[in-house]
Symmetry: C2
Subunit: 251 residues, 2 copies
């Protein structure tokens, strides 16, 4: 019983207008990997964001008075704070140098996912894709068209977590799979019905891929997970893996 | 560039006094896998807990008045609540049917990690190991002695998270590795120093292993991660991956 995690090295930068599906298929070819039915293709959001033109030059940003105030409090660049606020639906925490928001997609994370590393310049920042599920769908359909294989696509970002040190990679959008393994009603060896019932495998897939992606460059933006059992489905999206606000225990 | 994730099927129950290291080596042999230098061996805590006798029969538990009160509020078995309280250092949340505690180890999780599934009977519950790092160390040394290979060992549990649906597998103890990949001071392709600096790879390893472990039974309690680059070290433990209380943003 084995899963293979295959990193696809890419020696190029990504630019607005690039076809990510084509880049994946080309990367597979140049890495001597053929994409197969059932493969899960994990893509770091940075290349997706760049291809979609989701890069902002801070020199063109005029911070609002609210951004100036928050920047002062946190010791951050006010132009960066302005971009973070524009990407957010709501500020949840603004203390100890941290700006935790709920993004327009509903993701709770630091800085609305806005990132300065690998952005192509000190004054340039990368935003999350506008609709990561839609990005994943387009990439999946592109790869399927080019290869004839039926695949799932997961777009990821590395994020911090309450209570635990270090960031981990999580899913911010996906297409072609049920993100959960559902054990409701399943009985264990003793006939006891399982209480921990729903495993978020799409976040586990993201974490798995990060072990090969690393952080320091775009050299491994694509990772194939091969041999994983999952349910093919087009019925799920990011909304399903984000907890509704009414269920939050920590605020 | 490839990582292999190899599940070791085991067709047995675990009991107090069992030698987990020996069980891993036997499972590897019966699955035609030879353990190699650099392998990370991931172990679900349930077999460790059982081998260490960390199983409680609720029929022997007399709930305190505090346990009775919390059980009433949450609609839980008061004997189970009593066990959860005994395993905890502090109750953090007690609402909407959820009992979130900080365990004696400092882990923030539901029910102090006490679990009824796969416990060997409806009235029996499994606790987390008393000292999961020490358990990991013993298992690592046992495997190294039996095989001559130098390995790392990670002990895991599936846990829920604030803001995201579904549980994921995380590390609750480990031995033989640096749990982080540290990018502090590393520059990206544009010379920009990376801000997201420390990745928690031991939690990502746990998540990876879960994709093969599943939840429903003990049939795959051991998973080998092969081909992963990590730093060998004996200097780290659970304390390093738990965020200090002073840094918590959500309460």
């Amino acid at each position: 019983m084995k899963i293979e995690v295959i990193g696809l090295r890419v020696d190029r930068e990504f630019r607005e207008g690039d076809d990510v599906a084509k880049a994946i298929v080309e990367a597979a070819a140049s890495n001597n990997v053929s994409i197969r039915d059932g493969d899960v293709i994990v893509v770091t959001h940075k290349v997706v964001s760049k291809a979609e033109g989701r890069v902002v030059d801070l020199r063109n940003i005029k911070p609002s008075s609210r951004a100036l105030e928050i920047a002062e409090k946190l010791g951050k660049d006010p132009r960066l704070v302005e971009v973070i606020l524009r990407e957010s639906r709501e500020v949840l925490k603004c203390e100890s140098g941290h700006l935790i928001t709920m993004t327009r997609h509903g993701i709770v994370c630091a800085n609305s996912g806005v990132d300065q590393s690998n952005s192509g310049g000190v004054d340039r920042v990368i935003l999350l894709p506008v609709d990561p599920d839609e990005s994943a769908r387009r990439i999946r359909e592109g790869v399927e068209k080019l290869t004839g294989a039926r695949v799932a696509v997961v777009i990821t970002d590395t994020q911090g977590r309450p209570f635990r040190e270090g960031v981990v990679n999580i899913a911010i959008g996906f297409s072609g799979m049920n993100p959960f393994r559902d054990y409701r009603g399943v009985r264990d060896r003793c006939g006891y019905e399982l209480k921990i019932t729903v495993v978020n495998i799409v976040d586990e897939i993201a974490a798995t891929a990060e072990l090969l992606m690393g952080q320091a460059s775009e050299s491994t933006p694509f990772v194939i997970i091969r041999g994983l059992r999952y349910e093919y489905s087009l019925d799920y999206g990011l909304r399903d893996i984000l907890m509704e606000r009414g269920k939050w225990l920590f605020k």
